[in-house]
Amino acid sequence: MVPRAEIAHWLAASFALLLGLILLSEVIVGSSVFRQRAWRAYLWPSLALGSGVGLWAITIFSTFSTMHLVAHALWAEAAMIAGAVQIAVVRGKLQSPAWSLVTAGAWLVSGAAFLVHEPSPWLYSRAAFLHHSIGWMLIAAALFPIGEALRPRRLVWSAGFALTFVALAALLYADRDSAPIFGHFGGIVGG
């Protein structure tokens, strides 16, 4: 049995929240302390790579519409490429801050995919509203890795990047398959 879309979104939200907390903790303690343990240094890139693998699994279940299939496949590719590049950065194989542009590209692709696979207008339902909100938020959040590439090691870029995951988690947790933008259909469709 395939899980409902909202359940997949809540699980993805938990993943995003954990990533957000990890990245936020790196901002607080600084990269030198955070990367003292190898497993911690590789955590964020591996999770990005792992989320790409998870998105492929979702792609397999998204065969009900070509647009959903293409959008999830694009996210999967973008997440895996960004994760792989970050692993190379942590290993020291890639050293230029310009590699952050790959992460920015992944955000832009993800944001665009969110926007194009939502056929309904903003105020149609909560799911439509959240798809539009998340899409535009990710496109705006691409500014953080772009900033990191142009002016590296500024707190605002890393903090903004981490908080984007927390905001993404909040929006994904708010998702319902069938609900108005605010409130819930108590007893009719499970709230």
């Binding site: 049995m1 359940i7 809540w10 954990l18 907390l21 990890i22 903790s25 302390v33 947790y173 819930h184």
Partner: protein, 101 residues
């Protein structure tokens, strides 16, 4: 003893104290991230109890038990507090002792 040395020693001590208190603040902030996340999940559970399947079982399947958003938030906070935060605080303390010695 020159007056230059006499004035720099308290300055150094003050700087060291500032560094230590900054590290303590960082450690506290990291330690608070998990509990604050768990608290958020608990507040959410109280505000929207119908999102906890254990409290509202009618017509719910296995996936509903797996994904109960407020409980997932608590779980993420717990995971962070148990797995990630302690090591970070330990490494912060190690760095503090390293720079002091």
């Amino acid at each position: 003893m020159s007056s230059e040395i006499a004035t720099t020693i308290p300055e150094r001590a003050a700087r060291r104290r500032t560094r230590v208190s900054r590290r303590q603040l960082k450690a506290l902030a990291v330690q608070l991230l998990g509990p604050l996340t768990m608290l958020t999940g608990l507040v959410w559970a109280v505000a929207q109890p119908y999102r906890i399947v254990f409290l509202d079982r009618d017509g719910k399947g296995a996936y509903d038990y797996l994904a109960q958003p407020p409980l997932l938030v608590v779980l993420v906070g717990l995971l962070f507090a148990i797995v990630i935060a302690p090591g970070l605080v330990e490494d912060l303390e190690k760095e503090e002792h390293g720079s002091a010695g």
